[in-house]
């Protein structure tokens, strides 16, 4: 995205285009990455509910992949995931490992 000059910015830093946080990709903040283990998933969608960044995609009512453009790696989904028979369906893996 081309950065604006001081002549182009809105008075008082008011944001006039709604929903533009989509343009602000926060994925690079992550130091731990959630990884989905599909065979342990019971499709409860707790992860989808708890994710503060809407980084868990749902397709046709079913859990789909993470949106790593926005996932900050907070780990909430992994904490809340009940998994199957004590086996988590989300684990946190250190980035770059």
């Amino acid at each position: 995205m081309k950065l604006k000059s001081w002549k182009e910015v809105n008075p008082g830093a008011v944001i006039t285009d709604a929903g533009n946080s989509r343009e602000f990709k926060t994925g690079s903040w992550r130091s731990f990455k959630p990884v989905w283990i599909e065979e342990n998933c019971i499709q409860c969608l707790f992860c989808w509910m708890y994710c503060p960044d809407m980084a868990i995609k749902v397709k046709d009512g079913k859990r789909a992949e993470f949106d790593y453009d926005f996932c900050k790696g907070c780990g909430l989904c992994a904490l809340e995931c009940p998994g199957k028979k004590g086996k988590k369906a989300i684990i946190m893996v250190e980035e770059g490992k």
Binding site: P11, A13, V14
Partner: protein, 393 residues
Amino acid sequence: MAKVVAVTGNEAVANALRQVNPDVCAVYPITPQTEMMQRFSSFVSDGQVKTELILVESEHSAMSSCVGASAAGGRVITATSSQGLALMWEILFIASGTRLPIVMPVVNRALSAPLNIHGDHSDAMGARDTGWIQLWSENGQEAYDNTIQAFRIAEHMDIRLPAMICMDGFIISHSIERLEYLDDQDVQAFVGKFKQLNPLLDIEHPVSYGPLILPDYYMEYRRAQAEVATKVAQVVLDVADDFAQLSGRKYGLFETYRLDDAEIGLVILNSAAGTSKDVVDEFRDRGIKAGLFKPRLYRPFPYEETGEALKHLKALCVLDRADCFGGSFGPVFVDIATSLYPYRERPILINKIYGLGGRDYLPGHAELVLNELVDVAQTGTVRNYKEYIGVRE
């Protein structure tokens, strides 16, 4: 038809606010401004204005409420003084940085400690670099007129900055003077309907106020704000022209009094300028070419115009009713000296600190200073560049 009245400065400004009939007023009254807001709240209770009056628990909250109401899209006022202004300090920057045209009369008074409730400019001087417009007023009439003009200046679509109207505590706020009120309809027509800019309550066009702006953009917003400051002076002059047509009273960026052919001069703000003008007249009667310069638009400071108006003098004294502790000279002195710096030929400058905490400024003080300037102009030597006057040694 204008109406001639005998009123206090507080009463005059409260009446100007009634005539403007703003949407919201959030206030925590503080002496000597108390009477102004007490009167305004009576207008609210008596149904003479449609203003939503928000009574808050502190000035910090008063200014915060003003920020919210202004961002929501209303014409917003408050008033304060002294410690109250000091407590607002954090939010003053948010109001100006967010470009919210809040209008606030400030009844100038000393800061604690020691505790004191009297006239002094330390409060507004402490807020001079907060990004607010400051209009200073010599008397009740000027405070009334400046209040009405402040709405037009602050709300101008090229400006959108908050504005303070400064007047001296007690000397002006509590003294009864003769002044002229404009008609209610004339004031209404003069200030016009409030124009909104990105109001929060326009739910068809949702906006966000107060975002986090990181190093990649912060400087661009600050640069833009510095640019807006350069446009204020012309708007102040245009609004003053319209106001002169309505009222017959002329205003500029500053007032010059017998200054054009003067050799020595005083620079002085607010009520003490009145006293000083009488003494300038006495010196003129004795054939001494004395003059006076009274800033009106003090922020943004019109330094180019100021330097032009003062550069021909031989000796000039800037009188400050506030000091910069640990700094060099009084605040007004620093600005005047800066405005004269680009000129090779410029007056010799001295600085006097006077009238702190309501200490009387008497004609004898102006006389002493002018006599000293006569001497400085003749000899070219300065005994003391900065000094307190009217103080027991």
